[in-house]
Symmetry: C2
Subunit: 501 residues, 2 copies
């Protein structure tokens, strides 16, 4: 029996429309085979750049429709979603530029050297080729930028890899709409519609990662879901790379000088950041280390005041709402934890943000307060008061890996903070000073990935280098010019950047 | 009870000397902790370059002793081992140059842009940092170049990662000697001796990959052993990257024109390549596709003649000898397979090389001849006769991933061969024309890695880019100059190559 897929309005909990059906194993197989059949056509770099730019233009052309669908399914608001659409289109165009530039091919040419020591050297020419079909697991919290037309899809297509997306159940209508736009862009660029496939359903997601013709996967979501798929990818007869972004606390350290200088400003920035998008960012600052003493007291008081004034918001779905309310209550119930702002039911299907405060000394008791170091998805922030460097380290030393870590430092502390930043860099892929982690710029130097469980690999899922995840090097040895791919020919007919020995 | 570790002479099967004991869990823990303690000191790039160059010089200074130990344990011969030592020293110095040059840090700087669209852009600066302690699993067949002082160790140290090597049981005395030289080089470079640790024993290898302070692993060896360790690495609470080189058939395709032009020359080159080092190369050409018809007949006849004249040789250990004799006999016993040269006992503990010949049509019967597509470690080559492009594809389509794939083509076939090379590039990490895969040059463009089971990742274990396996990116956002690591400071005090937007 075909299982229907419904679009649900999180503001009411009511079904909006039936979008389609969950994919059977045969459906998944068909989508993967169609994608695999598109691989040769994707070797055409200008067609790929055309697809990416065409998809950006179509998204913008249909912005009203896409944003309306996404808002109806996610309650994230049309303002935020309009921004996300602009960012998604920008990201698609950025990867088109990456394709055109060609540096990602990483061409290295070592000419033969018959006099080389200890032995003569052959002619070797290396570049990168696409891995094959990429499975993309869409996120709940970014229905565009980390979903069907998002960074995993854009970077995989840029690399020359066809994509099959497993849609997130929180926004099936948006997913179907975006997939149609991407397929149209593919066809308009002269590529098969199967270049981008879409499947619905939990079982389909498992089938997908196990399919023999799938060669890599990208994932954004929870630790439990991501780890299960990572394990399935590793257990295959032919294991495949699984680039998963799973979970992150995003710790923030406020120094004593920073708190003394600008407790109010930091509290305001923190409040805006941890409640942004109703706290549903992978980069939400979930743990803030605040110095014990007067300036820290002021910061916490101001944080409580500001957070208490934030309007309640609707979470992405009912299960998340339930998990958030349970998770916030469990943290608040820990002995010795203060609750200046209690998270809770905000009326209707909304939730109110919360602030809980613990002492660093609590972490000396092994395991008792580990719940505070476990990401709570939604608008909750855990403040830990520390008294001196040793107390700070006792908490940092217990932290799992993170996407980001931030320090708020005093005006005269830049040089003195180098050690703290080095310490934070061991815990995270991005280190910020005097800023908040919830914005993730799409640039060449971006790193959106960090030690496990932030990511399951050493890669980034945002920024130009995200393309590296879908490529592998191939070296050609002593191959005559006429038999070489154009990327490696001595005459460099494609005008690629390259390193030549 | 401590389990003794013996050095064994494969020429006699007799124990030579007791080298030490198998490491207990406590021994492994101590080695890993000593390595982890060395991590901060390894941040000094000039100390690392000094360690690598010092290790090269010490290896050369003690060349006679090292080569004698290795020959006594492996029977690979002092000529070959002298060459391997020179290559190993060259490799260590190459990675010292890589450290000095600093391109591996992959510094990317994006300046802030308040006018950027769709949103203002922060200042972002990215470089790469070492992952932490690396576990290295040494190979049997290269007691220097892929063992204690080999490419995994050299590239990990170059990246700034301390190393704990799990020695291969076939050359414990060589391993212990090389570890002492590396430790001396570390101390002379001002680094802790624990920078390079050494453990013996199968159980120790499992303990090592599971140790919480181990952050990555490199492996060269069998599919069964490598897959078991890969699975253990993936199953950890915190999974770690496992870069394993497991097994490879290294297919060679001879075109009809090539066979017609130079059957004798190809047969001679193939014989030298598949029997080099008694067939114990990861890059041994194990499967050769030869055209049906007269020129191919000549090639096979000449191959049989040349291979029949190769002197018997001693394999690395008794278990390998047994496996080789069994494996060669099982292949020869397949129905319809011809055996122009029977591999077998060569007297004493030697083995004679073998050639078996099958028809491509055999592979149309699903599974029946899969044994011929399974690597047989030692001096055996499987020749498959193909009649036309479809028959060739029917075999290529059944091949697993490989380190290398080669084509021998006619003098006028360069342009026509581009399609064949593209096909082979889907099967391997290195594609050669008119050459043999058994030499692996240490250069920037080298790729020694290919689709599974050739490797468990998309990386290379030889060449300058092998360093990438032990690094992860970290981005600094809006960090004041004085708080930045020197690698990322605007003034570029280290003079590093970098990309600046």
């Amino acid at each position: 029996m075909a299982v229907p897929v419904w679009s649900v309005d999180p503001r009411t909990g009511k079904q909006r429309e039936q979008v389609g059906h969950e994919a059977t194993a045969a459906d998944v197989d068909a989508a993967v085979r169609a994608a695999a059949a598109a691989l040769p056509a994707l070797a055409d770099r200008s067609a790929r750049a055309g697809l990416l730019r065409g998809a950006a233009a179509l998204l913008e052309e249909h912005a009203d429709e896409v944003v309306a669908a996404a808002d109806a399914e996610t309650a994230l608001g049309t303002g935020r979603l309009g921004g996300e659409l602009a960012r998604t289109a920008f990201q698609l165009r950025t990867f088109a530029d990456v394709v055109d530039e060609g540096a990602y091919l990483d061409v290295i040419i070592d000419h033969a050297d018959p006099d080389a020591k200890p032995i003569p050297r052959p002619d070797l020419r290396r570049y990168k080729v696409p891995l094959g079909v990429v499975a993309v697991y869409a996120a709940s919290n970014f229905p565009l930028a980390f979903s069907v037309p998002g960074g995993d899809t854009a970077s995989a297509l840029a690399a020359g890899c066809p994509v099959v997306v497993k849609a997130h159940p929180d926004h099936p209508a948006t997913s179907a709409l975006c997939a149609r736009l991407l397929q149209r862009a593919a066809v308009e660029a002269g590529l098969p519609a199967g270049t981008v496939g879409l499947v619905f359903g939990f079982e389909a997601g498992t089938e997908l990662v196990r399919h023999p013709l799938v060669s890599a996967a990208g994932f954004t979501g929870s630790v439990a879901g991501g780890r299960a798929l990572f394990d399935a990818a590793a257990a295959r007869p032919r294991p495949i790379p699984f680039h998963g972004e799973l979970g992150s606390l995003n710790p923030v350290v406020v120094t004593e000088a920073a708190a003394a200088e600008r407790a109010e400003q930091i509290a305001a920035g923190l409040t805006a950041s941890f409640t942004l998008g109703v706290g549903q960012f992978c980069t939400k600052p979930g743990l803030v280390l605040v110095p014990a003493g007067g300036p820290g007291d002021r910061l916490v008081a101001e944080l409580a005041r500001a957070a208490g004034e934030v309007a309640p918001g609707v979470l992405l779905d009912g299960r998340m709402r339930e998990n958030f309310l349970k998770g916030a209550a469990a943290r608040a119930a820990l002995p010795g934890v203060e609750v200046p702002v209690a998270a809770g039911d905000g009326g209707g299907l909304t939730v109110r943000p919360g602030v809980v405060v613990a002492e660093a000394a609590a972490f000396d008791e092994p395991g008792a307060y580990d719940l505070l170091l476990d990401e709570c998805f939604g608008p909750l922030v855990v403040v830990v008061r520390y008294d001196g460097a040793d107390a700070l380290e006792s908490v940092l030393g217990r932290l799992p890996g993170n996407l980001t870590a931030a320090a708020h430092i005093g005006a005269d502390e830049a040089a003195a903070a180098a050690g703290l930043l080095a310490r934070l860099s061991a815990l995270a892929g991005r280190v910020l000073v005097d800023g908040w982690p919830t914005g993730v710029a799409v640039t060449a130097a971006q790193q959106h990935g960090g030690p496990y469980p932030a990511t399951t690999s050493t890669s980034t899922s945002v920024g130009a280098t995200a393309i590296e995840r879908w490529l592998r090097p191939v070296a050609y040895q002593d191959v005559p010019e006429a038999a070489l791919p154009p990327e490696l020919q001595e005459s460099n007919p494609l005008g690629l950047p390259r390193r030549v020995s």
